[in-house]
Symmetry: C2
Subunit: 345 residues, 2 copies
DNA sequence: CTGAAAGCGCTTACAG
DNA sequence: CTGAAAGCGCTTACAG
């Protein structure tokens, strides 16, 4: 028996000598199907390599079986210089989706785009995962709109009480504290901070506050705003920020960078001025991207559990889509000590 | 007027005082709709933030409007250490899909999985983009099966005449030749090759052959198989391969690594033995991943145009899906000279 | 436990 | 240029 084109549930039904709805039930493991019948149906379906048509089933059930991952690239629209920090998370998300039987649509967006309208309607995806650093206040409004539309979504970012929707993020204050404590223990007193530490970038602000607390807890002075320079999470931004810092002429013996990309750019700038790392300036970054290990000297940095993050993002979103309760979660951080911070290894 | 849930084309039709099919026509820009009518319909659709239901339209038209990107991770199943070389290509692919109005499903796969059955059927996606290095002979069979099933697909990889389906790849021979010529010009005579240069990995084999040709064209000896060590595209594999090379005890003054990851691993191994790069050993890699710039010394490497590659992959696949002719393409490579090869900068 | 019927929201001949 | 009708392949009440 040959079937033109892809087999349908009706084809299976004919072959199995049952009605088409019975095939549908058997395939989805409905308990109201005779065990014998089910086995026969499954065998035939397997043999024909039958797959349920996603469009038909999605149309009927009014959902897509698909989640959409929106990756925001803020500073670099076309160069596709996504922060490498997100790549393992992307891998983790795809795997978690597979485990949940969800397909994953991926799209790179600008914060300025109308992504909040594009998905959500049109049944392309049942829910959204939002990834990417960016100006928090600037996209606040779109998140609120998503909530109003009733579009299920989760975002990676700062976990704060007043926030629209669900967030999974790391304990940025805790991570900053680890960095501060470590630098204090290494005897550093004048720690510069590179990164935009304002309420526009709450994650960076938390890292700043945490580091400050860690330094003070060790009995030293905290962070000095005079030693803080704004920077976005990009190498050239870190390079520029370090030069701004140097031009201020204030003494400092350490740099805590809000991200590894900033740290690596800063290291280049410092080394170009003949400063030795870690002898003259200790450096600590945040993220533990692959380049942190390869940098010379290798970069001490705060590690976020990106794998777990991806799993939590998908789990939470699937719950939301199913109308189950889900919670924002803050993940623990840890510190990986390498040569750049001058600690004995 | 309020509408419960998402608006449908029927809602628009009522509001515009036309039939539902007319709305459908107007929305897709059919020429058989009165200009006045169309404008009215579009305005209403926009105001209601109407989006065509992908499931319904896909079901009716028997296609998905979606392409699937399958990323194969061969050596590292769960660590999600995707070769970073593919990330900008991923970015380029997502953007190209957006330009073509295609959604992009992404999935990480093992070559061993039954991905060839999973997609293609079930109308999840109209076509497949296959990315990832891996044993060529091992997955040959699945590609052939895809062709038999009539599933449109394109792959990134070696462009060879006898191959199932369409391929976009770089001119690996040409890239190897650039590396060989450069090393010869730098006075290197005994060039080791790290990478699996067999017909299982035709891309690596081509790089080997090209380098050999480049060295000979400069009048020197070519590559010596005694100085070739197998390696997969991963740092630890490059590290191990370099150690194998060192243990052979044969003299060499340069290493051409089949990929940057291999090169970086090899550099660590050589430096650990006290060899100076580039003074004792010049190194050239392949891919120009971000780490190549950050490595110490910075890595000279062969650049592939990943952005263009992504565009070509999507263009070709869209043509295939539409039943239009499409061709395999081999992209030019270039060499970016950095400190690791000892050239005067 | 199983089947006949309806319907999800579109698109596409077919008439007019 | 527009509308009435059919149908894509499922899932889900509704009967039995």
């Amino acid at each position: 028996m040959t079937i033109r084109g892809k087999p349908t549930s009706l084809d299976i039904a004919h072959l199995a000598g049952v009605s088409q709805p019975t095939v549908s039930r058997a395939l989805r493991g409905s308990p109201m199907v005779n065990e014998e019948t089910r086995k026969r149906i499954l065998a035939i379906a397997e043999q024909l390599n039958y797959k349920v048509d996603k469009n038909a089933s999605g149309l009927r059930r009014q959902h897509a079986g698909t989640l959409a991952l929106l990756l925001f690239e803020d500073p670099t629209p076309d160069e596709s210089h996504i922060n490498p920090f997100f790549f393992p998370m992307l891998g983790s998300i795809t795997r978690a989706c597979a485990r949940h039987g969800q397909d994953l649509l991926i799209s790179f967006q600008q914060f300025s785009d109308d992504w909040h309208a594009e998905y959500g309607d049109s049944h392309k995806a049942d829910g959204l995962i939002l990834l990417g650093y960016g100006d928090y206040l600037a996209h606040q409004g779109k998140l609120t709109k998503l909530v109003e539309q009733g579009t299920p979504f989760v975002r990676w970012g700062a976990v704060m009480p007043d926030q629209p929707g669900l967030s999974i993020g790391c304990d940025n204050v805790g991570g900053g504290r680890l960095a501060g404590a470590h630098l204090a223990a290494a005897g550093r007193r004048r720690v510069a901070f590179l990164g935009d530490a304002s309420n526009h970038y709450p994650e960076f602000l938390d890292r700043f506050a945490g580091c400050d607390a860690g330094l003070r807890a060790a009995g030293g002075p905290g962070l000095d705003r005079a030693l803080q320079v704004d920077a976005e999470s990009a190498e050239d931004s870190g390079f520029a920020a370090a030069n701004v810092l140097l031009e201020r002429g204030l003494p400092f013996d350490a740099v805590f960078a809000a991200s590894d990309l900033i740290a690596i750019g800063a290291m280049h700038a410092l080394q170009a001025r003949g400063l030795r790392i870690p002898e003259d300036v200790a450096i600590v970054g945040f993220d533990d991207i692959p380049a942190a290990r390869i940098a010379t000297p290798a970069l001490t940095t705060v590690v976020q559990d990106t794998i777990r993050a991806g799993e939590l993002l998908v789990d939470a979103l699937v719950r939301l889509v199913n109308g189950e309760p889900a919670e924002s979660t803050r993940l623990e951080t840890s510190l990986v000590v390498r040569r750049s911070s001058g600690a004995a290894l």
